[in-house]
């Protein structure tokens, strides 16, 4: 029973397209995140939601729009995809406490051609 699941696992698309990545967690956590991992494995937070409220919004192009219909789901929509958007995107969740770890999904490898 997967704790944090995201779909799709692989996504290949052309420049200019719009795509979405879905994320769901069944851990009962209040906080969810989107991270971007580049080709050098550098991990950068993009967004953080707590109980459907946007908490962290790092410097991310406004082509990226997160949506949280409820606290168990956090989807990521990307408009007008660019080559530089190619990366692995990870969804994660945690309890609302700095003392607890984050639980990560398996990642979505996005390739823009």
């Amino acid at each position: 029973d997967t704790a944090v699941s995201q779909t799709p696992k692989y996504l290949v698309t052309q420049m200019g397209n719009d795509k979405s990545i879905k994320c769901e967690q069944n851990l009962g956590h209040d906080t969810m995140y989107w991270y971007k991992q580049d080709s050098k494995k550098f991990l950068k937070i993009m967004f953080s939601y707590n109980n459907k409220e946007l908490i962290i919004n790092e410097t991310v192009p406004n082509r990226f729009s997160p949506k949280s219909p409820d606290k168990a789901h956090l989807n990521l929509h990307i408009n007008s995809l660019e080559l530089g958007d190619s990366a692995v995107y990870f969804c994660a969740s945690s309890q609302r406490s700095v003392r607890t770890e984050a639980f990560f999904g398996q990642g979505t490898r996005l390739t823009v051609v």
């Binding site: 944090v4 906080t31 995140y33 050098k40 494995k41 550098f42 991990l43 937070i45 953080s48 707590n50 908490i55 962290i56 990870f90 994660a92 945690s94 609302r96 406490s97 700095v98 003392r99 607890t100 770890e101 984050a102 639980f103 990560f104 999904g105 398996q106 990642g107």
Partner: protein, 113 residues
Amino acid sequence: AQSVTQLDSQVPVFEEAPVELRCNYSSSVSVYLFWYVQYPNQGLQLLLKYLSGSTLVESINGFEAEFNKSQTSFHLRKPSVHISDTAEYFCAVHSGGYQKVTFGTGTKLQVIP
């Protein structure tokens, strides 16, 4: 502001040899320190964490890390590595009211048979 430095991007080591992966952090507030491991084509998962108390913390698979406040370090060690330990290791600092998590750039541990 907080930051995490992992000086070694890659660490090759022979099987059954000891290994140390270095992590240094800086923060103006109290922090909680974590090590995550990422196996190939997977998401990150918690390896161990330091919250308070004993400065030496251990994982279930033989890794340990020691919190050194004076040197602002949280190095990860294992006395004898196995092939299955080949992975990317990330040091992370958790602080702030809304679980601000800062990851290091990762260290790739390559265990050589």
